[in-house]
Amino acid sequence: MASDFTQQIREKARELLEDGTVECVIGYETGSDGISARPAFIYNAADVERLVFDNTCTHNLVKYLLNKKAKSTAVVVKGCDSRALNLLLSERQIERDKAFVVGVVCPGIVESRWNERSEQLQKRCDWCRQHTPVVSDFMVGDPVTEQPPADFADVAEEEAKTAEERAAFWQQQAERCIRCYACRQACPGCYCTDCFAESLDPEWVGIRIAPAESQMWNTIRAFHLAGRCISCNECERVCPVNLPLSLLNRKLEQKVLELFDYRAGMSEDAPAPLITFKKDEKLGIAE
């Protein structure tokens, strides 16, 4: 299947580059370890053979569309990535007519790192309810029936602890955070040119590397993604100290689903939950 996907992507890429539909195709190629995929930027039809698709294609390439100066670009997206596309379209960060979307019905992505590849599916693939891209101009693979709603066992497990234990847990995590902001750089929803974390006035996050400041960063990072996180979990994957960032994202994802019946990035038009409201809704606030 994977080789078939690769073939289809190459053919489409060739066609798009040759007929001038796009200037660049952003896809995956095999990395220099010969094992895991890495992003590839193909400008010439002659180079399309570099493109591959397999179960190590972890990166969310949509992030690369944020370059507003780019001309027409084709991008390979998995189900989760496609939701990022909708998010960015609704937030007017990319122009639909400049993007050609090659959707791939995702077979699931495995844990892999330099020179290492397991057959263990990534956590996000366990949770995933969107293997088929929600937006595409060309679809690779047959759309699949999606699984019924995921449970949030990981969140529930954390919630079973006492408040004190939870506070201690996150305190420990904050002590480990080195505030490298890799989570931010990988996240398709984090595209601000000026991040609150680096604002000196107001100084939301102090410049020292201290647990309280890291806690502030991690809390607000998660909250800024409330109702916007598309569950690609790239933030957690790229974290060099393995902070359990997915817990925060998924806690909010669960609440957003429960309170607003909303999943981010499922359509371009549905307004994100925090920029809309219903007059008569009951949210457990001052009722």
Partner: protein, 136 residues
């Protein structure tokens, strides 16, 4: 703070309803504990979740946000947006160990002075009972 054990409560009150409601508590001499410190904001929708997280991060024991009753917002819709943000924020804070009881949102109209006093009294008592925040 007068004593270390007394909880610090930071209150964000919307100018049009709740701040006026707190004024009304004053004019009607409706007493309440003195722990609360009040910030005036134009609208409960102006209260940035970042600000609330910051309050807790810096050591506040509790935060009260009070705004106009739904439907009465001076700016028509501000408290509706606030309501959504606060609902999610409270979940996130609780999840991270700031008990949900510590972050309270109330709708207080300009005529509800006595009610404001009662809310603050109850909140203060509850926070005194809970004691100071454990972590950080």
């Amino acid at each position: 703070m007068s004593e270390n054990s007394a909880p610090l409560i930071i209150g964000f009150l919307c100018n049009w309803c709740s701040y006026a409601g707190a004024d009304m508590a004053g004019t009607s001499r409706a007493a309440y504990p003195s722990n609360i410190r009040i910030l005036r904001v134009p609208c409960s929708g102006r209260v940035d979740p970042m600000m609330i997280v910051k309050c807790f991060q810096e050591g506040a024991d509790a935060v009260l946000v009070a705004g106009c009753h739904p439907g009465d917002c001076h700016y028509n819709e501000g408290n509706y947006y606030g309501r959504r943000r606060f609902a999610l924020l409270r979940e996130l804070l609780d999840f991270m160990g700031v008990e949900r009881e510590r972050f309270r949102v109330e709708w207080v109209s300009a005529s509800e002075g006595k009610r404001f006093a009662k809310i603050v009294t109850d909140f203060t008592n509850e926070m005194t009972k809970m004691g100071p925040r454990k972590a950080s």
